[in-house]
Amino acid sequence: MTFSSPLSTVSKYRRHKYAGPVLVVAALLTIGSAFSIASALPSATKMTAAATTTQIAEGKKIFAAGCSSCHGLNAEGSSIAPALIGVGGASVDFQVGTGRMPMADMSQQAQRKRPVYNAEQTAALAAYVSSLAPGPSAVDGANLNYERDGNTAQGGELFRTNCAMCHNFAAQGGALSQGKYAPTLMGVEPKYMYEAMITGPQSMPKFSDKTITPAEKLSIIKWIKAAQNEPSLGGATTGRVGPVTEGLLAWLLGLGSLIGIAVWLATKAR
């Protein structure tokens, strides 16, 4: 029996739905492909040389206005917020770029929301924080050619060993203690996933480049994207959160509809 995987043909059927994002990613990838992964990735952990003094000054201004009330005037931290000296541009790019910072309220954990600052302002903030002390700098999404450099199967294995315990087997997110949670990874931009792995935002630990190499990180991203783009094999998913929703469906839809039919069956016809 000749048989090709449903997955290998999926992209052409998603054109209508993901045309926009796919084109953008494709364009970014084309630009990014000029750099090889070997040269691009190590630079991600060094300071960006491009940070100009004006950018830093601009960032300092934004910081003073929007961040210093919690993180201190010189990012030295306070009782309610950590010091940002040495966290690097990657952390700023992740926290501000995903809208987690500035925090809306002092709840258990910062949530992803619409970013307050635009890309330029975020870059300026990152440049300012990077200028305080060296740290991992922001990742350029264009350099993350995970489709080319990643290995899905290896990524899956790494994901299940290092990520699934918090983010669930299908990257749908999960509960942590005391009301905290690991967010879903569906639809998260690759660069933010990468930055999260190297900076360890909030409850998440860091995953060092020596224990999970940059190439392995790309494999993880590739697997997550494959899981996200996989057609719902076998029917609509029940949230991909395991047997709880399956049991609920069996009772409500399965037994529920059968009881409905049994009521019809046992009433007399007129």
Binding site: R160, G235, V244, E246, L255
Partner: protein, 530 residues
């Protein structure tokens, strides 16, 4: 005589001449079955079982119950070249390389969930209507056996694919075995053929899953149905329905058509679920290895209450004389379920002991008319629901923005507080419903029509209810308290006085009822109005 009738007659004749069963068959083809939707719940279970046999057989044609290591080389790309067990690889093969294989796997799993759900619903129906009473105690015991085996069978089936989730389940089962005092580690090593996970567990449970337990099911279900057949079905109370008859439709043709048709409907719904709703996507879980885990690792719902109990258990362990006893595993994993299932099995005998009722019962109870039993049922159900909810506390936490710690504490307190509360509330509700029945019989139905009396007062017109309805609402048995004497005539305490006291107190509680309305009372009221 038409051609068709001649053929039918010929067939009947042919059968009888070879078996001499004419008399028996004639009687049984006319066998009467009462019709009620709640009597179909057990049928759902039976039909799900048949679906399980059919779809399960299909799956065995490709499933390889082996834990030998293989490198996957099938058509599911994200697991290409990953090392896994042959069991997992063959499950992937069924899912992606056998046409209709995934559908059959999903039908099998949905049917298993439906099997357990309908067994539980059927059990609740039997419990709340008192269908377990004499002469049906044996069938209740078989039913308790079936639900217990169902839980085991379901768990084994869930374990066979050897994916990350099922392996985690086996890991926990192994920990329960290992926790048994004195012989635990031996039992675990014998079951797994050495250290966990070993290479023999899946082949072993495969034999149990496809041969031993289905065989036991077949035997028990056969006896269960033969008893239903022989003892004739119970029926709900109503006009013309007595302890001495059974009102319904004959097996041939009405019941045959309805039951056969219902099998098709159950199959259809299961196949529909299998077609449109994904269940147990093992390819996403990945192969099992003890070093990996997924957030939200739960068993199927019929085991979920056990997992919930284990989660809420306090951290109790005894360390003494170089030995360890894990109460945090034994109590929620073995002792509490043992007590619950033993209590459930013995319930018909306990109830008849308390009430002193040794009569046959073929008319079902309306749950409100037996407040204590109904309240006890509600109490047990509440216990199970609290445990089940705690079994999914991590998902509840993320979906309703709560903290697992809060939910855990609510469950820990709730498991003690809510069941007794459910008992009290249910009993009160039952008694008020009895009062409402009584009012309905005596005062008639509220019509919503208002009339103005000559002196200007508005009253609502009450319409008397039909004699059929009045009979249905008043015909139930009203239990009497047993005599409370714990001493004989000479003032000497009877032996087992304490037990007798307990018994008479419980029977007094059973007798706590609203008296059913009588015709005399209705006439007196009627007289009063005029």
């Amino acid at each position: 005589m038409s051609q068709k009738e001649r053929i039918a007659g010929g067939v009947a004749n042919y059968v009888d001449e070879r078996t001499g069963a004419a008399k028996w068959l004639n009687k049984n083809l006319k066998k009467v079955f009462p019709d009620h939707w709640s009597f179909m719940l057990g049928e759902v279970a039976l039909y799900s079982f048949i679906i399980l046999l059919l779809s399960g057989t299909f799956l065995t044609f490709w499933f390889d119950p082996s834990q030998r290591d293989v490198i996957y080389n099938g058509s599911y790309q994200p697991l290409q070249h990953v090392q896994m067990s042959a069991a997992y690889a063959s499950t992937l093969h069924i899912s992606f390389d056998v046409r209709g294989g995934l559908l059959m796997r999903q039908i099998h799993h949905w049917a298993a969930l439906l099997f357990m759900a309908s067994i539980i619903a059927h059990l609740l129906r039997v419990f709340f209507t008192g269908a377990f009473r004499k002469p049906r105690e044996a069938n209740w015991l078989i039913g308790v056996g079936l639900v217990t085996l169902g839980i085991v069978e379901g768990f084994l089936g869930y374990s066979l694919p050897d994916d990350l989730l099922s392996g985690t389940g086996i890991r926990i089962a192994e920990a329960i075995l290992q926790a048994i005092p004195v012989v635990g580690s031996y039992i675990a090593f014998f079951a797994f053929g050495g250290a966990f996970p070993g290479h023999v567990f899946i082949p072993r449970i495969y034999t149990v899953h496809v041969l031993l337990l289905p065989g036991a099911f077949l035997a028990l279900i056969t006896i269960h149905l033969m008893l239903v057949w022989y003892q004739k079905h119970t029926q709900y109370p109503g006009p013309g329905r007595t302890e001495k008859n059974v009102v319904g439709y004959p097996l041939m043709p009405v019941y045959m058509a309805k039951a056969g048709g219902f099998f098709g409907i159950v199959f259809g719904i299961t196949a529909f679920l299998g077609a449109v709703a994904s269940i147990n996507p093992i390819w996403l879980y990945g192969p099992y290895t003890p070093g990996q885990i997924s957030a939200g690792s739960q068993p199927d719902f019929y085991m979920g209450w056990l997992d919930g109990l284990v989660r809420m258990s306090p951290p109790l362990e005894t360390h003494a004389f170089g030995h360890t006893i894990s109460w945090n595993i034994l109590i929620p994993g073995l002792i509490v379920p043992g007590i619950l299932f033993t209590g459930m099995a013995l319930y018909p005998f306990i109830e008849s002991w308390i009430s002193g009722d040794k009569k046959e019962h073929h008319l079902l109870d309306r749950p409100r008319n037996v407040p204590n039993r109904t309240a006890l049922g509600a109490m047990s159900l509440t216990f199970m629901m609290v445990s089940l909810i705690n079994g999914g506390n991590d998902l509840i936490a993320t979906h309703f923005h709560m903290s697992i710690n809060q939910i855990m504490w609510m469950s820990r307190i709730g498991i003690f507080v809510l069941p007794p509360l459910a008992f009290v509330i249910t009993k009160r509700i039952c008694l008020s419903l009895q009062r409402a029945d009584r009012d309905l019989v005596l005062h008639g139905r509220e019509t919503g029509r208002l009339v103005m009396l000559p002196h200007g007062e508005f009253v609502e017109v009450h319409e008397p209810i039909s004699p059929e309805k009045a009979w249905t609402l008043t015909s139930h048995i009203q239990p009497q308290a047993l005599s409370t004497a714990t001493e004989d005539a000479n003032g000497v305490a009877k032996p087992k006085a304490l037990v007798n006291k307990l018994r008479s107190r419980m029977s007094a509680a059973n007798a706590e009822q609203m008296p059913a309305a009588t015709a005399t009372e209705a006439q007196e009221l009627e007289g009063g109005h005029h």
